[in-house]
Subunit: 352 residues, 2 copies
């Protein structure tokens, strides 16, 4: 109910998914009458789509703290509860991100060993699969070294199960690739992530920079939620600017309008490679249950992409694997400090 | 001497600038024999170009701390000293950024009232002038509220004198535009920057997000050097990715190759709008002297752009105006706190 385009776009996305994945079934949470009418129009949904009535809707303006206190009875709460009680394998929502994270936190609870959950997104890249993973992009505004280690472990688990990469390459976002650069906290995280590579099942390539986001030398980029949020929005804003300039320039003269006709197929292929709808879905990592956050403005294509991601993660057994890795990597990261793997900085007081 | 393309590219840039600005004169710092040979080839430089011999060159691999201790005798040091002793109105360098900031700090010293100097860059935008200012993009990895206030004041002074904007609009970079979002430090900075708008000579539009970097609702985006560095590199990386995909797609088929021929003029105009060479030049703000950092890989066009920026700032009397604004705004920001302008957060302990 919480998406910018309303439940009709969501049901259209569900229809797409139902067609693509004949084994999938759906529970829709929201206004019974409205949803029943939308579902009734599609034969493919008959017998595969259950409706759970919820009186209330979380809006984009509701504060997460309010929703935590009084969100019971909303479609969002009902959706997360269907994962909590085992009826659904994963939740997908187009609603308010902060509220969705808050409700997911208090209903699903954190995986043992995880201090801060994270939101991971896919980002267009030069890698063969076409995407890199970045986290955290905004679950929280800060992260200490132990959190960043957990992000590395969770991001690796996501890349293994979501992108089918056996040993994902992890990079830690910094302002330079030299080891002396950045905050003390980042240097500590660098050593902890390096030490836990074996048990985390990843390769650690060290520091990466903002221009490595689309790089093919890394698969998973780890950062705090403030930096990650700014980075993805800057990337999106830049892509939008170039796309707008491209449109303006192709409309500028008679010759350029003609050129646009010739270039149409080419420009469409370009758009396909960087289309945000193809990679729609921020995944909440570190909770006892899989939650996929779709863009608020997603259309049927975008929503189907988010559902597809949820299905893949559910089928891969991602949730249990992630929990096991986090437990092992946490111990390895701690061992690294206890053993003095980073003697030059271990004496610095680190605030969390 | 420190640019990736060597002194020949620098001298070519100087020739461009000498042609465009007949009143400008130049002091070149570096190897006397090599520079003299390059300068001798250009009639336009005769009598307008002095050479200061320096035996040594700061390389891209030198650590700033080393250069601070033993950088005397390098071309970089000599260049900054020519500003310090009043012979040059501004310095331009293609060399190692960290070393250039370190040498500038110890030789020029900070403007009274400035705690952390900042590096400001221009970023392609939808504004009529075509660019926004962003700072800090990497002079330091952190900034507290007082620093962010100084960045706002210095960024406004730069936009007034460098972009000819009478009352620049300042935005503070955050993960959302709502006032309750972000770190406590950012909320404090929000109130201080708002309180000092009058004496700072800017309009404060509040929080902005990463996708506002190219926006036409803001002129100057203020952030800490870590976030700013990641943001510009992410933007650059995204632009490069799209540009590469565009090339690949236009070469993909026979039809697309034909389309590329038709679209050539259009694509060239697009490239012109987002060409990083047009906006080449990070300006160091907060020092007693104007220093412009050109991209290390800049060609003649890029170097001429950096020199052009240095000339404009020198002619506008930017340096003195900035110092005066910083002094006034600092007092106004402090007054805001003393008067309890932000009662909701003033009780929170803020670490710097």
């Amino acid at each position: 109910m919480g998406g910018d385009r309303g439940p009709a776009a969501v049901v259209a996305g569900v229809v797409d998914s139902a067609t693509r994945t004949p084994s999938a079934a759906f529970i829709l949470h929201g206004d019974q009458a409205e949803l029943a009418k939308l579902v009734a129009r599609h034969d493919i949904l008959q017998g595969r789509c259950e409706i759970r009535h919820a009186d209330r809707v979380v809006t984009m303006h509701d504060k997460p703290s309010q929703v935590m206190r009084s969100g019971s009875g909303t479609s969002m709460w009902s959706c997360i509860d269907s994962v909590k009680n085992g009826e659904a394998k994963a939740a997908v929502s187009c609603g308010n991100t902060g509220a969705l994270m808050a409700v997911s936190m208090i209903r699903l609870r954190k995986v043992p060993g995880v201090n801060r959950p994270a939101i991971a997104v896919l980002w267009p890249s030069r890698n063969p699969g076409g995407f890199n993973v970045m986290l955290d992009v905004g679950a929280d505004v800060k992260a200490d070294a132990a959190d960043l280690l957990q992000f590395a472990t969770m991001g690796a688990a996501y890349a293994r199960n979501g992108l089918n990469l056996a040993v994902p390459r992890i990079g830690l976002l910094n302002v330079g690739t030299e080891e002396h650069k950045g905050h003390a906290e980042l240097k500590l995280a660098h050593d902890q992530i390096a030490a836990a590579a074996g048990v985390g099942g990843y390769e650690f390539i060290g520091f990466v920079e903002g221009n490595d986001m689309p790089s093919d030398r890394v698969d998973v980029i780890v950062t705090d939620g403030f930096t990650g949020n700014v980075a993805i929005k800057t990337g999106e804003g830049t892509a939008k600017l170039i796309s707008d300039f491209l449109k303006i320039e192709f409309k500028a003269t008679l010759l350029s309008k003609l050129a646009a006709l010739f270039a149409l197929a080419t420009l469409k292929r370009l758009q396909g490679r960087i289309d945000p709808r193809r990679v729609n879905g921020g995944v909440f990592l570190g909770l006892n249950g899989t939650v996929v956050k779709s863009h608020g403005g997603a259309d049927a294509t975008g929503i189907a992409a988010a559902i597809g991601l949820a299905i893949q993660l559910a089928q891969s057994g991602f949730q249990d694997r992630l929990a096991a890795r986090v437990a092992s990597a946490g111990r390895a990261g701690q061992d690294a400090i206890a053993e003095g793997a980073s003697p030059d900085i271990s004496g610095i007081g680190i605030s969390s």
